[in-house]
Symmetry: C2
DNA sequence: TATTGTTATACTCTATAACTATA
DNA sequence: TATAGTTATAGAGTATAACAATA
């Protein structure tokens, strides 16, 4: 195990810290950190179908449905029939959902500030950029196919 | 919401991708991604107490206990009484635990390779360094105290 | 045929609070 | 008094498989 293999654990530790702090800060609003991500995704793109919502979070459609049931029961989101696709349902924030989202967003500002407190603006931008590339790398192979990476970083076959 | 606020979501997306891929790759060994982190922590420092283990993962002592019960039932770890502290219990990998850890470690190698496939060695090092600083920043205030950050990134009071 | 969502189900992780035993 | 761990308990997220309705 060399230093190159520290990336997964350092990624996990950073995320875990963020998640924990968020849960604590959001608890007074009765919203979990993951529910906040769902609300934030809707705030950026209302009237998504459940599948689009799951893809953007990212999360699993089945997981998203379970979360939507909880949020619907609390009156923060509502699901409507899709205008052109009878199978699909669109999801939107209710008025209460928008208000709660804004409150939780504000409650999270100290955490976001603190995350960047030891980073210069350039470093923060760099970090986001590096994280995106990692995410893209991990998404580039279907999870159920195991192919060997070759030395130059491309794949032996497929795609 | 400006671009500076993308850090939390990009961190989450990267971690989520890693977690998902890991769950899939580890499933054949009956080990979850989080259990793997626990095994890896023990592989680096055997005979930790449960609290030390929780602190290093990082995770919650109560969460760790639940995980340990599962792993103990599967024969991958064992808990012994601490040599000098009668309250504490030390946790160690069993022989089967070491073997399973090695297998799962190997099964995860393609994922680790892939994470770094679009990063230069320098960028990978930089990413780990930035993530560590974020983790440290987030850990520097107890989660149950809300203090305002001031402009220079230090705190109005405390510490 | 493929896709969207539902239903039923199960498991893991997470965490709190009250408790016992030991330091 | 403080700390390590246990017990009981609850909730949330995760995911799979079989299914119905629609494209």
């Amino acid at each position: 195990m060399n230093q190159n293999d520290e990336l997964p654990l350092s990624l996990r530790a950073a995320y875990h810290g963020l998640h924990r702090r968020s849960e604590t800060a959001f608890a007074q609003y009765g919203v979990t950190a993951d529910q906040f991500v769902l609300l934030a995704t809707l705030a950026r793109g209302d009237a998504l179908t459940q599948r689009e919502l799951a893809a953007r979070m990212p999360s699993d459609p089945s997981t998203v449905r379970a979360m939507l049931l909880l949020l619907e029961k609390r009156g923060l989101i509502q699901r409507n029939t899709h205008p052109t696709d009878g199978r699909a349902r669109t999801v939107a924030l209710t008025k209460a959902g928008r208000r709660t989202f804004q409150q939780v967003w504000d409650a999270g500002q100290p955490i976001r500030d603190q995350m960047r407190s030891r980073l210069s603006p350039e470093e923060a931008t760099m970090l986001v950029s590096l994280l995106r590339r990692v995410t893209e790398s991990l998404a580039s192979i279907p999870p159920d196919t195991a192919r060997m990476l070759v030395d130059n970083g491309s794949y032996e076959s497929g795609l």
